[in-house]
Amino acid sequence: MGNTVVASGAPPPPSSPSSSTPDPPKRNDNPGTFEEIHKSTKDVFPNFFEGGRLMMQRGLSNHFQVTHIINLSSTDPSGYRFGATYVGSKQLGPAESYPILLGDCDPSGNVSANLIHQFGERIRAKAAAQIQRSKYQATKLAADYMGDDFTASITLGNIDVLKGSGVVVGHYLQKITKSTSLGSEIAYQCGPMIPGGQLAVVSLAARYSGEKWTASGTLGGAGVHACYYQKCSDQLQMGVEFETNTRAQKCVASIGYQVDIPRADLVFRGVVDSDWNIGSTLEKKLSPLPFTLALCGQFSHTENVFRMGCAFVIG
């Protein structure tokens, strides 16, 4: 989904500078949000899809962008999706402008919508909803407070007052030194389906960054998740991930890498798993025209299943 992509064309109109603070050096110390603690490693791993996909992105103005997607697939239902992105005029950085409204809809009425807005300098709010078959499948309301060297967030998910069910998640991430951040998460869920009516899970997270590497880990009731990221060179980045799930009693280790070759306009990501799964994604810009070709393939040696996806993006 194009979230902060501003449509091509003239640069967006300069907004009036918000307050007396000259430039936010505090923003550099902010450790990011808790959900993004494993982000550098997760970006190295490929994202898979199946079947053929044609995506046409068109910018109608500086603020507005429209997407048409056609999916052809044997596993997921094939169809057409129409998406729209609106980016507002409050600009906080070269690629960040707020508010951001993202929407995606289907001819049968399945809609997913996202709204992100920044209030002031520090508070960011998100709202997301997914409607399928005329019912709210998922809703989410989140607020992040970005302090000088910490981030606190609270998220409410699937709140249903009538049934008395919902999920509340609180996050806190603090930057201890220039390279260390520690954080914790508490997730509270209540609902009639849960034995006992309510359930809370606590996890701790830590991240240590070096000059060219980052190690991060999460330890909690849901399991252990450890990640390591290394930037081997300008062209090669590698990531290792180890994930356990106490509820499903499974653990998986994977090694992924990303190869960037700018002179061939190519980004290639590959992953090898401990379950004997391999997969890779190739994205190539076909340069004189704004076309991008994305190919992905996944193969599982144990189950002997091969899945392939091919996407063509125009614009």
């Binding site: 190869v259 590959g270 890779s280």
Partner: protein
């Protein structure tokens, strides 16, 4: 002189338990005695039985050890073959998915780069050619390079090298 003549009909020796009748003969001798009567059609059987009989001269542990070694090595060769088949398949199919596209694209980029270099080298021979009026319309079709020169490559032999007009 015995009143009752003992008639040796020879039937007793043909019975199965005739060993008790003639205890003085060792069992091998009886066999050897019979071997003279046996003919070529039983020779194969005899050969195998002879070899098997030869093996009886080794002690029990040597015999069982060599049998185990032979069957183990046959099994090992079979499973090594099966394992190497699997391993080679996994390695090659994984490298097709994980490494082949990058390698092909890098090679392609190198070839395109070297072709461009080659073209530029050919260009260098023609130098500082003033634009000729009838060729000026060709300038509109050019792609400008970053040094501000205009390359035009229409034919393999003729290359123009024209200073870019602002």
């Amino acid at each position: 002189m015995a009143t009752i003549e003992e008639i040796d009909s020879g039937m007793e020796s043909l019975r199965g338990d005739s060993k008790s009748v003639s205890p003085e003969l060792p069992p091998g001798a009886k066999w050897a005695h019979e071997a003279d009567d046996l003919d070529d059609e039983d020779l194969d059987e005899t050969l195998t039985e002879r070899l098997v009989g030869l093996s009886e001269m080794f002690p029990e542990s040597v015999r069982t050890g060599s049998v185990k070694l032979a069957s183990w090595s046959a099994q090992a060769v079979k499973s090594l073959y099966g394992f190497s088949r699997n391993a080679v398949w996994v390695v090659f199919s994984s490298s097709i998915i994980l490494f082949a596209p990058v390698v092909f694209e890098i090679e392609r980029a190198k070839v395109i780069e070297s072709q461009r270099q080659h073209q530029r080298q050919v260009c260098m021979i023609w130098f500082y050619l003033d634009p000729v009026p009838q060729w000026e319309d060709l300038l509109h079709q050019e792609r400008a390079c970053r040094w501000g020169w205009v390359f035009h490559h229409r034919f393999d032999e003729i290359v123009l090298y024209v200073p870019k007009l602002s």
